[in-house]
Amino acid sequence: MIEVHDLTKRYGSHLAVDAISFEAHPGEVVGLLGPNGAGKTTTMRILTGFMPPTGGTARIAGYDVMADSLEVRRRVGYLPERVPVYPDMTVSGYITFWAKLRGVTRPRAQVDTVLERVNLTDRRNTLIRNLSKGLRQRLGLAQALVHNPEVVILDEPTIGIDPQQVIEVRESVRELGKNHTVLFSTHILSEAEQVCDRVVIINKGRIIAQGTPQTLRAQLQPGVALYVEIGGLGKEAAARLLREIPGIESVERQGDGFAVRAGGDVRPALSDAVLHTGCRLLELRPVAMTLEDIFLDLVGREN
């Protein structure tokens, strides 16, 4: 549905997007994850036909974003980062405008449906200037969905709204995945993990990893991580003891115990070694590395 190949965008001499390639299949929710300035918005602006790329290709539903821009724009719903509104229009007037502009055949019925869908029906005659930020976000979503596009592109839709609304927006994004292909961007890792079928991690315009949250974790987590707490031994001595166990790669202090990384399963060797010294093994548990750790790790390595 979305095919991006070697996409590149330069602003003057600044390389904002550097030869990125990824795909989104029909019905998939793909997350574009990256810190500020990673190039998320730039990528989305190219995909929506707002700006041309400097190099590479991008296709939506088989149409090239440059050559068949109008066909692409017909099939895409876009919610920019800062929800753009006309403050002096009413909610239904605003949605009707976008419906008509995008050639919806029965605008009135479609506007009713979409307002129902984002739960704004009781505000349909409210002036937009009087809407709260959370409601504006929903209005922006309604605007992006009113022409029932195949592809929905949402640029950081959970920014600046309260936690309750964040949960609602995440749920609606998941929900959207049932009928649309969704590309959404975020810099919150847990969000990408929760919402996306696939995550594309970008930093400084380059893709540093992509895959399902599970495969990313499996792929990138080097070896096994364990948390170990030992009773009856000084911190220094305990660390020394752990380091000497074959297979253990790193030992770091963490709270009262240690975070240990190993190439394979070292639990038997570890417990033997500890018990052998006559000390007590107070805690031994595997630590699942979150996407957050992976991300910070990757971005840190890049920088």
């Binding site: 707002f50 700006m51 109008l70 753009p84 403050p87 002096d88 976008w98 502009l101």
Partner: protein, 242 residues
């Protein structure tokens, strides 16, 4: 193309009718023309015949200030609020967006012009005005107004700030207006003629205002509109490259 123009046109006209500023502009315009008309009528009782081109001729000056006020919002606000990004990702051409906006401004102006026709009706009720002359003048000022609005729209596309847009287009229109006066005081005849050829005023005062419709003047205003709108479309397009 038509759908885009129509939808944008409809929204912008709605915006005029929902906006206090637009009513204020209409009020000011009608108040000024009303005062002018009243004093001219008083004069006409004793000193001279009423001038059928009075209101249009006044508007030829007033539009230097009113056209920027009517158009300053149109593109500056879109780019400031970020709605331009949505407009430019809608399946309509940039030309359709610009054209829809221009036509709505021209339409609103035409409505104001229609209201001032009341003065002609009053005049017709009490004297026997030269109707042909008045119609010519109105056609002229209608085209003239379109040209000034196109200039205003161009400046609105150049900046995100409405006030800056209004100020720049007033300056530009004032220059175009003054160039007519400059044409009158320059000794070199050819140069003077050239300058008057290029001034907005020059194509109105010597033809429409005295009751003549000349093809070249109509073409001049149509040309100004076309050129201004063409440049505006290019500027709007350039947002894609920034």
């Amino acid at each position: 193309m038509l759908r885009g123009v129509g939808t944008v046109f409809e929204r912008e006209v709605g915006q005029y009718f929902a906006s206090p500023a637009a009513y204020l502009i209409a009020f000011a315009l009608l108040l000024l023309t009303g005062l002018m008309f009243n004093s001219d009528l008083t004069f006409s009782v004793t000193q001279k015949a009423a001038d059928p081109a009075l209101i249009p001729s006044f508007l030829s000056f007033a539009m230097v200030f009113f056209a920027p006020l009517l158009t300053m919002r149109m593109l500056a606000e879109e780019s400031r609020e970020g709605t331009l990004e949505l407009l430019l990702t809608a399946p309509v051409s940039d030309t359709a967006v610009v054209l829809g906006k221009f036509l709505s401004a021209w339409f609103y102006y035409s409505l104001l012009l229609l209201i001032t026709l009341i003065y002609q009706v009053i005049l017709a009720a009490i004297t026997q005005p030269d109707l042909g002359h008045a119609i010519c003048a109105y056609i002229g000022i209608w085209l003239y107004g379109g040209a000034t609005l196109a200039v205003g729209l161009l400046f609105s596309s150049l900046t995100e700030n409405q006030i800056v847009a209004a100020f720049l287009s007033m300056s530009a229109l004032l220059l175009l207006w003054l160039s007519d006066l400059a044409g009158e005081i320059i000794a070199n005849l050819d140069l003077a003629r050239l300058i008057r050829q290029l001034s907005l005023q020059g194509h109105y005062t010597t033809s429409f205002a005295v009751g003549i419709v000349r093809a070249e003047d109509v073409a001049f205003y149509a040309g100004i509109m076309a050129v201004m709108l063409f440049i505006t479309v290019r500027i709007v397009e350039s947002h894609r490259w920034r």
